[in-house]
Assembly symmetry: C2
């Protein structure tokens, strides 16, 4: 970062003032075409690279957005970030990607860092931990830095949210299963402190209740692949299998399928299984998994667009958005 060619050097080389160089390089129409050409040629030849830091300082605009995700190893979040990145880039903004490691405290510190580095807006994908009233909300509001929550939400917090309508998605799934003639439908649940998960359970209950069927909740220790495997092992031991196992995510569905198959229980013939999210795993399973797709691209694009709107118009909350989900029917049920 030392001894770079700067505006002044180019100016001297061309025998004009730094101001003219600045205007020329920014294609200001006021500058004479010939001068512009000369300046640009010189800048190019001298290997001039503008210093964005200096530029940001004077413009009071960093041209950067921040996004915080709990975990980049989770395909779901990774897809979100990937889409968001594309969209933000195409709007000539930069995206600062931060990882909270599912730690609310780390999330808070990241917000601080983002503020210090002058991002113009922040998209927060909540951790899967309870977080009643993060103080950073106040900080961001006070500084008038637009922000919103995406993919999931902290229920107690009043703020713009953009996420899937997970309850409806699960309702659609269970309704479909019932229409197909199934009635012994169990739901693999887990820690209910996470909003989206509770929403999925609610969707299941609603559909079952409406059909007059009995709710059958199976509690997994963890809501992941291993948790599902263990839960099903127990069902098998106790000889309490159900005709359908509805899972709140695809990883669990995969765990259920693999465990059943390893016990020579055929899917979908003896037991049907469904997932949620439509991540890559759901196609890669030995039996492709019927699932509910969250339109993560739309969520990402909507988040970015909304944030840009908030930045431009100083508009605050424009009302939560719940993005429609889509039933993906494959062979596991």
């Amino acid at each position: 970062m030392a001894n770079r060619v700067k505006l002044e050097d180019v100016a001297k080389e061309c025998g004009v003032s730094p101001a003219t160089v600045s205007l020329a390089l920014n294609d200001n129409p006021l500058v004479n075409v010939e001068t512009k050409r000369r300046v640009k040629e010189a800048a190019d030849r001298m290997g001039y690279i503008p210093n964005e830091i200096a530029r940001s300082l004077v413009k009071k605009k960093s041209q950067q957005l921040g996004v915080i995700v709990p975990d980049i190893l989770n395909c779901f979040y990774a897809t979100f970030v990937s889409e968001l990145n594309r969209f933000v880039q195409s709007n000539h903004y930069g995206l600062t990607i931060s990882i909270s490691d599912n730690n609310p405290d780390r999330e808070r510190r990241i917000v601080d860092e983002l503020i210090r580095s002058n991002v113009e807006g922040v998209i927060i994908v909540p951790t899967n931990e309870q977080n009643t009233a993060p103080l950073y909300i106040n900080k961001l509001s006070k500084l008038k830095i637009p922000f919103l929550f995406a993919v999931d939400k902290y229920e107690e917090i009043e703020a713009q949210v953009i996420m899937s309508d997970c309850e409806q998605g699960m309702y659609d799934m269970v309704t479909y299963l019932i229409a197909k003639g199934y009635s012994d439908i169990a739901f693999l649940s887990g820690d209910t402190s996470v909003f989206t998960l509770r929403a999925r359970a609610d969707g299941y209950r609603k559909a079952m209740d409406e059909a007059g069927l009995e709710n059958k909740m199976i509690r997994a220790e963890t809501i992941d692949y291993n948790g599902a495997c263990k839960a099903i092992e127990q069902c098998i031991e106790k000889n309490q299998l159900h005709r359908v196992f509805v899972c709140p995510n695809d990883m669990m569905a995969l765990g259920v399928i693999n465990t059943l198959r390893n016990h020579n229980i055929s899917v979908p013939e003896q037991c049907a299984v469904t997932g949620y999210d439509n991540v890559m795993f759901s196609t890669i399973s030995t039996v492709p998994i019927t699932t509910v797709e969250q339109d993560i691209c739309t969520i990402a694009q909507n988040s970015a667009r909304t944030l840009f709107d908030m930045i431009g118009e100083q508009r605050e909350n424009i009302g939560d958005k719940y993005i429609k989900t889509k039933l993906i029917i494959r062979e596991s049920c």
Copy 2:
């Protein structure tokens, strides 16, 4: 970014100069303890947040590193980024994560952006495309911005590289298979323009040659799940199955296993299968996959440490590092 509390405001509030506030807040021992306390209290009370952009400008240090990965959806790269992030953070640096979408041109543009934003060093995970002599190398060198390649490399380029010893890893795997008594061992290959992939094929050949066994290369159109499925379907059609299918990555191994099982060919009894990388998929398969683990954590940490060294000591290339791999034996062979 407007109307924030700044150093000057805190100075006025405390009746001292901005210089003193700056020193106090940075815990300079020259400042009187009592003054320091007063200043800190005021800064805190007034909600002062330092402006990193201004600070970077004057210090000529951005306190940021940049990393470029081809694709954040790939678990492998995601793990790398995740680890790198942790390590960089703990060194009080920020990490700018950029995604090249496997596009050399985009990679070049990102390097430009990183330079403009004054990162102090860059870690590049190459795209899977040929890239004989990216010009950005010269740019970075000329500006004395330390950089290195990690995970994979562009063969034609002279630069610091940190990656797994993939050839040795595959050699170990095939040697193990041979020792186990297998002899009809086929290798699923694909596009050989990628260095790491060619290295794996080389490791296979070396081990087979040494044992005096016949090389059996099967060419897949793409080196992913679907490519592997198709390739195996063809083998089955032509009735050309082999006793062992060695795959250059876990996704392909999974494709092979699922395809075989869907044709009621048992793994590992009738056909054994091996993977490479030890990503999550390899445990999640119906038959846990025997694979070669790339120690991605070590690669990430080594990359960061080396880059920090280069930044600190203006040291250039310190010789390539090839990280040892590890054979992970599971049930697929």
